[in-house]
């Protein structure tokens, strides 16, 4: 038994490493075919990041981690929440609006604003959940539409409540009071910038994800529904309610994505808003196999690539968007590798069982032969 476990562990580590290697190879081929400096590109991408950049990588990973966890909750249930981007936008806006009013003092303001973000994100996801459960609309299509609608509605609301920053055309919500701004920690020696304080939030969310999905009845039901809906129904799971709950939970977590940025860096919702984090989250959740620790590594890798690519234009004369190609190939390679190793695992298991059965049969025959 432990033999099979060891084999499985080895295979699941081998898959991402293989994927990285394939991405390296294919990207090099593309660069070579177009006559771009392959060596300079990899020197830039693989150079040791400075302390300042390490801070940026960790900060980026915090945000991506939250995004991927939000996606993973849906994935565990075979729900594709493509709408994390929109839910995150709605959540960030609502929280920024609330925190900007400064109705509550200091830390209390932050905590309630985080709850507001979760409620807003969850509400936005609940529309897709309702349409799926009651009207049979695929969540893939409805969440894509809701992403676009979120962009329109939020930019309209922003115009209604916006305050203009003095001396610029940028508009945004009211800046949150200084007592509610989080300065961050200097965790990386030698770096002048700081790690977001809400690193704590990401760790907490990761722990909760691990606990709720792995150790509670709700999590078991959720995973059961994801693996086989018919089996789940047979064991008494109310599938429609599970779809509703997990979609809203995914949306509520998506609402959290913007929090480290809001309280640690931007202090208002405005033109600095980063879109597309939800889509990166899908890739990271897949890379990390929906596992809380795997996702952490995947988020760090993703963020590392993003940060290192910034230097590509200057140091190699290549567009930094090359990183999307690398990330996309990694994603393809890793899902293909996971699929391949899964099948290899099944085949090896079948061979082992077949071998044992054959041995048993041979033993029985020998015994019979001895008796006769």
């Amino acid at each position: 038994m432990s033999n099979a476990k060891l084999r499985r562990a080895l295979l699941s580590i081998a898959a991402p490493i293989l994927a990285l290697f394939v991405a390296f190879l294919l990207t090099s081929l593309v660069l070579m075919a177009l006559g771009d400096p392959v060596k300079d590109v990899w020197i830039t991408m693989l150079s040791k990041p400075k302390p300042r950049q390490i801070t940026n990588i960790v900060n980026g990973a915090i945000v991506l981690y939250l995004s991927a966890i939000a996606v993973a909750v849906g994935f565990k249930m075979n729900l594709f929440n493509i709408g994390v981007d929109g839910q995150y936008r709605v959540g960030s806006f609502a929280a920024a609006l609330f925190a900007g009013q400064a109705w509550l003092p200091g830390v209390l303001n932050i905590l309630v604003a985080i709850v507001v973000a979760m409620v807003a994100g969850g509400f936005w996801a609940s529309i897709a959940a309702y349409l799926k459960v009651k009207r049979g609309v695929s969540e893939v299509i409805s969440t894509i539409m809701l992403n676009a609608i979120a962009t329109g509605v939020v930019s309209w609301l922003l115009l209604k409540v916006a305050v203009r920053t003095a001396g610029s055309n940028a508009i945004g919500t009211k800046t949150i009071p200084e007592s509610s701004q989080l300065e961050g920690w200097k965790l990386i020696p030698g770096a002048s910038n700081r790690i977001y304080s809400l690193l704590l939030l990401a760790i907490l969310v990761g722990l909760l994800y691990w606990f709720v999905l792995g150790k509670t009845r709700f999590g078991f039901d959720l995973r059961a529904t994801g693996s086989s809906e018919t089996a789940a129904v047979a064991s008494g799971v109310k599938v429609k309610r599970m779809v509703m709950t997990s979609m809203i939970a995914s949306g509520a977590l998506a609402g959290l994505i913007g929090m480290p940025l809001l309280f640690g860096q931007d202090h208002s919702y405005g033109t600095t808003f980063q879109s597309g984090l939800g889509f990166a989250g899908i890739g990271i959740a897949l890379l990390g196999r929906n596992h809380p620790v795997g996702i952490a590594f995947a988020a760090l890798l993703w963020s590392y690539l993003d940060t290192q690519a910034n230097g590509l234009q200057i140091r190699a004369g290549v567009a930094p968007e090359l990183v999307y190609i690398i990330q996309g190939i990694i994603l393809f390679a890793v899902v293909i590798a996971y699929e391949g190793t899964r099948r290899l695992d099944i085949r090896l298991e079948q061979q082992r069982v077949a071998g044992e059965l054959a041995a048993q049969r041979a033993a029985v025959r020998d015994q019979e032969g001895a008796v006769a």
Binding site: G136, I141, G152, I282, A319, G328, F332, V335, E339
Partner: protein, 426 residues
């Protein structure tokens, strides 16, 4: 499918329901009645609200320009999903099409550009086909990855090949030659005169005919041809029957000797080149250059239009026309036209609400529809225009509403989105 959506507009509350006589049983007559009803409805709405741009020939032409790329993307989705492969990567394939069509058109002229667009999309289709058909990767996952790659490849190649060219740069191509367009000679001006008189129905008809016959791009005509060809190939040939059987029940098809992988592979390739052609339309007809972010989510809308059209070419065409039209009136007169549409929505919801309440006895749904109808009507009368930000969401809200009301009547191919492995059939 569209019988669900469009019949409500005609004056009587339930036009197509019980008395479907011999005349309306003919699909051509039914489609004709739907189109006629829609025109009467739009002209009534125009006269009542005074929003003259609702169906001007300019708006119709613009709607065409916006509908064609959506229709091409949707047609790509249709080929793919009829063979049982979900293609959420249409957006990425379209992006690849925009870059490659611009590159080819700059070097060898617009005709090669059109071909180049299809080739660019084909490359995207090839990746999706290898991943989903041969490696058995989840279709949505592969699509998402393809969208990331498509975006990256287009940006990388644009900055590699368009930087330094006259008028080009890392995010846009140099100006290109438009793809040629045709007009039906001799009728444009008289129709314009008629349209300017703003007579009920007559002017509207004139405007629509003028919009459909003046300055029509060759790519639009090619698209129409592709629609007819798709319908014929998929529903009238042995090849099409096999392709659709692969999407309905691959195991059964396999047992009848159909090479499932081959048909899926071909369908995804066709899907990619159609989406790429949609990208070519954006660079060569809708504008005259490649621009970063040019597709603006049209691949996704194409997918929605296909679902709206119940995985059929005719329905898909109607869906794309609807999205193209809502987008066009928003872009042209913005808030004013969308504001006029509010009245239409209010009346439609009122009818739906009454129908749910009295005919089907569904109190909750009926009351909900009536309340939303009341709110919409209040919005219509309280404001003069709809803010641009909200007007921009019109196509998406329309999609959601249509899906919410019609999703249960839609039927997708039975094995759509399921990974099929040779020899592991049920």
């Amino acid at each position: 499918m569209s019988t669900v959506v469009t019949p409500t507009p005609t004056p009587t509350p339930r036009p197509t329901a019980p008395t479907r006589g011999s005349f309306l049983a003919n699909p051509w007559a039914r489609w004709g009645m739907i189109v006629l009803g829609a025109i009467i409805l739009m002209s009534a709405l125009r006269v009542i609200t005074g929003a003259n741009d609702l169906d001007s020939s300019g708006a119709i032409a613009a709607a065409f320009g916006l509908a064609v790329p959506i229709a091409l993307a949707g047609l790509g989705g249709l080929w793919c999903e009829r063979a049982g492969v979900v293609n959420i990567g249409l957006e990425g394939m379209m992006i690849l099409g925009t870059w490659s069509s611009a590159f080819c058109a700059y070097h060898w002229g617009p005709w090669v550009g059109i071909l180049g667009g299809a080739l660019g999309g084909l490359v995207g289709g090839l990746i999706h086909a290898i991943a989903t058909v041969y490696f058995g990767v989840d279709h949505i996952v592969s699509g998402v990855a393809l969208n990331i790659i498509g975006l990256g490849v287009a940006k990388y190649l644009a900055s590699r090949f368009f930087t330094g060219l006259p008028g080009g740069g890392p995010t846009q191509s140099p100006p290109l030659e438009y793809a040629p367009s045709l007009s039906l000679p001799g009728i444009g001006d008289p129709l314009l005169t008629l349209e300017r008189k703003h007579i009920f129905f007559v002017s509207d008809l004139a405007a629509i005919v003028r919009g459909l016959t003046t300055n029509v791009s060759v790519l639009t005509l090619i698209t129409l041809g592709l629609f007819i060809a798709t319908w014929y190939v998929l529903w009238r040939t042995a090849f099409g029957l096999r392709l659709r059987s692969v999407g309905e029940s691959p195991a059964a098809a396999e047992s009848l000797g159909v090479n499932v992988y081959k048909y899926k592979f071909l369908a995804v390739l066709a899907s990619g080149s159609l989406a790429g052609l949609g990208g070519a339309f954006l660079t060569l007809v809708a504008s005259n250059l490649f621009r970063d972010g040019q597709t603006g989510g049209r691949g996704y809308i194409g997918l929605a239009a296909m679902i709206f059209g119940n995985w059929r070419p005719g329905g898909l065409l109607a869906g794309s026309a609807l999205f193209g039209y809502t987008d066009a009136i928003r872009l042209r007169a913005g808030g004013q036209s969308v504001h006029a549409v509010l009245l239409l929505v209010a009346v439609l919801l009122l009818l739906i609400g009454l129908w749910q309440l009295f005919r089907r006895g569904r109190v909750v749904q009926g009351v909900l529809a009536l309340v939303v109808a009341g709110l919409t009507a209040w919005w219509y009368f309280a404001a003069d225009t709809v803010p641009n930000e909200l007007a921009g969401t019109l196509p998406y809200v329309t999609t959601l509403l249509v899906l919410a009301f019609a999703a249960q009547r839609l039927r997708m191919p039975a094995a759509d989105g399921l990974v099929y492995r040779k020899g592991e059939g049920h």
